[in-house]
């Protein structure tokens, strides 16, 4: 009970801090700066992901209609839109987590390096190793220590890392921006960490299995503004080596971390992808009136 209440508070605080009546022009200038800092010369690693004609249903409820999106290797794409428009549903079709919900169904293709992850005979567990996921609410394993949490993916998927465990531990925690804070208490239980630290621990845990794509569903919405900034830093670092797709309800966050932004909307019917483009263009001169309305804060 307590933790739910806390996280709600944190969520509200986060929104208060971040939504300072976003004006189109200020957002686009942030995005433009960010985009210019990125160095296209550094050939990014990771893999491209292509969603083609994705539909999703919950029972009879058609939640997502015909969404196609390309995620180029080594880019950060933000998915924005009012709540209930299908962002989470969409991102969960990208690593086949959608199918865990009883009654859930989907149609369409998701190509990882050109190969459909829904193809018959595909080993789902292998797919999820390549396409990692960070959830809205930090969810470390409470029965494990900090170190065990980071390495849990290796055990869960019964794989071996080419590196030795200590090196891997340090590397993942460093990349997730948590190493200096926890290096002296790797044997402590994860429950003792703050919400923001737990979320970075979850990021480190995803990194240990060396995914090519990382999906993040509102990873900061349960965190205070300080932790949010740290995670945004982390995302910037990670984008050098993998493809990142992040759902966020915070448009300034989208502007700060992403190269591309896709706008989702539901007009009462199934959610649709309205428009996608380079983040600075999406915020400065969107093509669709509905995008314009949303990014300038007229609804949502």
């Amino acid at each position: 009970m307590m933790s739910t209440v806390n996280s709600n508070n944190e969520e509200n605080n986060g929104e208060d801090m971040s939504i300072t009546t976003p004006s189109t022009s200020s957002l686009s200038s942030v995005a433009a700066n960010h985009a210019s800092q990125r160095q296209p010369g550094n050939a990014p690693l990771g893999s491209g992901l292509e969603a083609r004609g994705i539909h999703a249903w919950f029972g009879k409820h058609h939640a997502l209609e015909n969404v196609s999106l390309d995620f180029a290797a080594g880019t950060v794409t933000a998915l924005i839109g009012p709540s209930g428009c299908g962002k989470s549903t969409f991102i969960r079709t990208l690593n086949r987590m959608h199918e865990f919900i009883p009654s859930a169904a989907m149609a369409g293709e998701v190509l990882l390096d050109g190969k459909d992850i829904y193809e018959a005979g595909t080993d789902v567990t292998k797919i999820r190793l390549q396409i990692g996921m960070v959830f809205q609410k930090p969810n470390p394993f409470p029965s494990m220590t900090i170190g065990q949490n980071v390495l849990s993916g290796l055990k869960l998927a019964q794989i071996k890392s080419p590196k030795n465990n200590d090196d891997l531990l340090e590397e993942c925690l460093t990349r997730a921006g948590l190493w200096t804070e926890v290096k002296d208490r790797l044997d402590a239980h994860a429950g003792g960490l703050s919400g923001g630290q737990q979320q970075r621990l979850c990021i480190a845990r995803s990194l240990a299995v060396n995914p090519k794509v990382l999906l993040m569903d509102e990873p900061c919405s349960a965190l205070d503004p300080g932790s949010t900034l740290r995670i945004e830093d982390t995302i910037g670092q990670l984008a050098q080596t993998m493809t990142i797709i992040i759902v966020t309800h915070n448009m300034q966050q989208a502007a700060r971390v992403s190269d591309y932004t896709a706008f989702f909307l539901s007009d009462g019917g199934p959610g649709q992808m309205i428009e996608v483009g380079p983040t600075n263009e999406m915020f400065s001169r969107p093509k669709d009136q509905r995008t314009e309305n949303y990014v300038s804060g007229r609804f949502g």
Binding site: M97, F135, N139, F141, P142, S143, R205
Partner: protein
């Protein structure tokens, strides 16, 4: 526990301890520690030692737990994480129904169906691990052993242990389950990493409830076990007994002093069962509340 059941429990406890008091008085601590139970003939001295039957009770119950708990946990995991929706309801009903079968049915089934099978398993166990003292056989008397009684009790406690485990497993936080799957876990790997650590103390509580039932079981044990009031640690060997079956077996022809001793034995069993059940309730309730 409601007031009325508390009252009834207290009255039973009082009745047993008052009526059995004489036995405690004459036998002292030996009533629990001594292992021979002989009524003095023609004014001779009584020697009532419950030790052998206390040991028998614990041995049979331990066998029931060792066999019953893993089966229950697997059943609960199957029902929670593997069974298709359609057959799940039917299976749950079946397991719950099993809990309400009268124990004589288990006894008869154990005698007619299980005994021949269990005899075969007993021979296998003896053949491969017979060098362990627990599984030694002084002579090939495989029928009606504590092992077979334990197997029958194992089947009897499966419903309660399964239903408590199932309840706990069903409460595993979804976000942890998803975290495991998102890391490429198979279902079984997810269960080992998330569900079992989460549900462990609940399973212990369920096992204690099962133990509470196994400790006091009379009819089923009486129908399959070759009742002999002696210590028997060789669980495959065909004799043994427990407190409840001794009370039933001796009651009919007991002298006045022996019947008092049997009531005292009833009191001992009462206390054992009560303690185990209280502990079980405590564990289960704490687990359900804190969800840890």
């Amino acid at each position: 526990m409601s007031m009325s059941s508390l009252l009834i429990l207290t009255l039973i406890g009082l009745f047993l301890s008052v009526r059995g008091f004489q036995a405690f008085q004459t036998q002292g601590l030996g009533f629990i520690t001594k292992v021979d139970w002989t009524a003095g003939v023609d004014g001779g001295k009584d020697s009532f030692g419950l030790g052998a039957m206390i040991i028998g009770t614990l041995v049979i119950s331990a066998i029931a737990l060792v066999i019953g708990v893993p089966l229950s946990v697997l059943t609960a995991l199957f029902l929670t994480f593997y069974a298709p929706e359609r057959i799940k309801k039917a299976l749950v009903t079946l397991v719950d129904l099993m809990a309400s079968f009268p124990s004589i049915l288990f006894g008869l089934w154990g005698f007619i169906v299980l005994m021949p099978m269990a005899e075969y398993w007993a021979k296998l166990i003896h053949k491969y691990v017979g060098w362990i003292p627990l599984f030694k056989m002084p002579s090939p008397a495989y029928t009606r052993s504590p092992f077979i009684a334990g197997v029958v009790l194992a089947i009897m406690i499966i419903p309660i242990v399964t239903s408590v485990s199932r309840e706990i497993f069903g409460q595993t936080p979804l976000d942890r389950i998803q975290a495991a799957y998102a890391l490429g876990a198979t279902r079984w790997a997810m269960i080992k990493a998330v569900v079992l650590p989460f549900g462990a103390s609940g399973v212990v509580g369920g096992a204690m409830l099962g133990l509470g039932r196994a400790l006091g079981e009379t009819v089923a044990v009486y129908s399959v076990l070759n009742i002999v009031f002696k210590v028997n640690f060789q669980v495959l060997y065909g004799f043994g007994g427990n407190i409840a079956s001794m009370i039933v077996g001796k009651w009919g022809e007991a002298s006045l002093s022996e019947s008092k001793a049997l009531l005292a034995a009833g009191f001992v069993l009462f206390v054992m069962t009560l303690l185990v059940n209280l502990l079980a309730n405590f564990i289960v309730r704490r687990t359900v509340k804190t969800g840890k």
